[in-house]
Symmetry: C2
Subunit: 453 residues, 2 copies
């Protein structure tokens, strides 16, 4: 690779980088992808927990409005299947014992109505936020000066409604709501549609559909299309850029030269590269202010999905934890029962430090509270944390604290000379999702194709 | 330098790195400092605006309780002189025209009393925050979940008092108060003593004393003590660390090997280095969450300090700006009048984008409002911004948003194997000041000396 030349150097073989490579290749340009890791996929990572039984340590679902992803899966020949969604959710909230859905709704009907009211208000406010330029929202200054948590606290909610709101929001942001600006929350809602799409797994939601064989089929098959243009194990360190050319230097003395570069990693990671000439303070300060969030997934495998027979959908909601939420993630055609426990935000931070044995024990106890003793003896367990993964450093995505969008927003995706930016964090539709990764890769590729055309 | 060996590699020749080098050398160990820039000093930068007339683009003052700095200056033979502090401050606030201090105090006596009450309360609360472990404050969780700005907004202050509180706080933090956690503000106060020391330039304050010849005399003279152990223009890229050794690789293929390393750069910059083996997610997430703030200084030079004759101390306070505050920064023995205009937080961000001509014109108009037409024609002007400086990327210091201290605080200064951390941002006394830089350099050096002793 020393002395390697291409039209377009792409830093990162996550979904956005792979899609960008595929797109510039289709336009007759030569890409070269430099991937730091030994694998492609970035925040998509499928692992076999048992032979033939894949689980998703990273991105898992697409939703009904993820048109780019459905088209891509179709093109790549990756089949999809629907998320299981029958039976009742169980609730463990506000000091009450575990309740089945119908009982919970009876007992906390008022609180659930409060929640609905707030979600509707969020949708109304989010509709005023242009996802391509959140800083242009009429009330952007006001919304960016407070945290989402402070706004939630100001809604006069009952403790149960406030807790439910926190749980469903942290399920998206993967950090406590007091860490992100209210404008960022509204941007997140607007980039995805409405709260009903974001927070729900039912029809129309963000998490309705999965991929046969595992999500990694998508990046893996994309990678085969650009296989001769892909270098693994090549961590970029330095980008030297001029008017019409760019050289990317990697660890180990290797380098690649091109006419344009697409940096297809999260903004924080992009900020860690060295640039020569150095980038503006404006861009640099942005990348100092978009930290990646904290999410962990833990999978319990049983001989069968016994909860289904008991009338449960495998979804729990709990303020006791360690997991605040869970999911039935069985595979069609496989008899095993698989439950996914989510550790997000504070829970990922706290329990990410525990030994795997301690974590598994605490999560097992939680499952037993919800589904009884049958949950006590899984046949397999696996979990995955992202902050410690050197080439990702946090999932699901990058979040903005107060005043970041209104101060630095325009620096997020705007090209700088021959440098273009991708990664789902730069998307304007379904930012933080696979759909956003594809959108951003497509947009960056289009910028490059137009510039070189 | 390729193949260079030393006992202690030090990354960064700012004040903390230089002081650490001096200290390990005095203990009989061999240091090697790798500095990315072409100069030493880091956030200390003295420039001559006219021949023989130095101004401080970076750190400028020390205060009466900065015992380490007084001792260091004494040892290095750098003389000090007191900050000029006679005459009245002028105020331009809340839509009223520029008022002299006595008039302002008469008209806004009630508002100033409100301010005093809040400052006293801040001192009381800050006294509960252990500066070596802010996360152990009894109310740490509560204080870390809200922003300083939200807490200020909740004090029922009049607009004038709220504005004054914002101006004096941004003068310390260099970011708007809604960007930092309230616990971080209390830590900042406690690390310095009380608000009276932090916010005042009068006796006992943080800004009472300056250095003859310029602040850069301190790092420059320190550098001569370790001259043969200093390599400039050597940007560190990668730290390979093992149980008893460490190799630091710099841009250009150079490297240096030692037994320990002290990383003496701000936490965010430390996070941008590559580590092999990679550091924990816990440490990494911290460095994603301590962005550097935004400060600019602009100096106007006149034939004489005409404002003194008019009874002014050269300090203005304004909510019109562009500068929110100013200072008389004349040099004893030089007849010129020098006014320093501070652009901090939002003002540095906004006006940092302007051309120097536009910035100077806007600041000149402000000076004319306060000091009359004599201010219209400076004989020299210079300003300096820090976000665009590649090896600093923001001043004065690193600030924490909500939940950073309570979640990641212990990772800030704790050594990781053979890696030790310095920089004023890691100090427990006068963090963000030169005094803190010396404290942190001393502490890191002591850790290394003990480990190798």
């Amino acid at each position: 690779m020393a002395g390697h030349e291409a039209d377009v150097i792409i830093v990162g073989a996550g979904l956005s980088g792979l899609f960008a490579a595929r797109t510039v290749l289709a336009a007759g340009l030569t890409p070269l992808i430099l991937e730091a890791d030994e694998r492609v996929g970035g925040r998509i990572l499928t692992e076999e927990v048992l032979p033939g039984l894949p689980v998703e340590i990273g991105a898992q679902w697409i939703g009904d409005t993820h048109h780019r992803m459905f088209a891509l899966a179709d093109e790549l020949g990756v089949e999809t299947f629907p998320q299981y969604d029958e039976g009742e959710t169980t609730y463990e909230l506000a000091g009450s014992p575990v309740l089945r859905g119908d009982e919970f709704h009876r007992r906390f009907g008022g609180e659930l109505a409060e929640l609905t009211t707030v979600l509707r208000l969020l949708d109304e406010l989010a509709a005023e936020v242009p996802p391509e330029a959140p800083w242009r929202a009429p009330r952007a200054q006001e919304w960016d000066a407070i945290t989402a948590g402070a706004w939630y606290d100001g809604q006069g909610l009952s403790p149960v409604a406030r807790t439910l709101l926190e749980i469903c929001t942290v399920g998206i942001l993967a950090v406590p709501t007091v860490e992100v600006s209210f404008l960022h929350l509204l941007f997140t809602i607007q980039t995805c549609g409405v709260t009903a799409e974001l927070f729900a797994e039912s029809e129309g939601g963000a998490q309705t559909t999965r991929f046969v064989g595992g999500t990694a089929e998508i990046p893996n098959r994309l990678a085969t299309l650009v296989e001769s243009h892909l270098v693994l194990d090549a961590p970029a360190l330095l980008i030297e850029h001029a008017t019409d050319s760019v050289t990317v230097h990697c660890r180990g003395g290797r380098s690649a030269r091109g006419r344009r570069v697409i940096v297809a990693i999260s903004p924080m990671l992009a900020g860690r590269l060295m640039y020569d000439p150095p980038l503006s303070g404006y861009r640099d300060q942005l990348t100092q202010r978009m930290p990646n969030s904290a999410a962990m997934k833990a999978f319990f495998v049983y001989d069968e999905p016994f909860w289904r027979a008991d009338g449960f959908n495998g979804q729990l909601i709990s303020d006791v934890g360690p997991a605040r939420m869970s999911n039935d993630t069985c595979i069609p055609g496989d008899d095993h029962g698989v439950i996914l426990m989510f550790l997000e935000g504070e829970q990922a931070r706290t329990h990410g430090h525990w030994s795997q044995e301690e974590r598994q024990a605490a999560l097992t106890a939680e499952l037993v509270r919800h589904y009884g003793d049958k949950a006590a003896h899984p046949v397999a367990y696996v979990d995955g944390e992202w902050g410690s993964r050197q080439w990702t450093r946090g999932c699901y995505n990058a979040n903005c604290g107060p005043l970041v969008w209104t101060t630095y927003g325009p620096a997020l995706a705007e090209p700088i000379g021959v440098i273009h930016w991708a990664s789902t964090d730069t998307a304007t539709q379904w930012s933080a999702y696979m759909e956003g990764a594809v959108e951003s890769g497509e947009r960056a590729a289009r910028e490059v194709i137009e510039a070189l055309g």
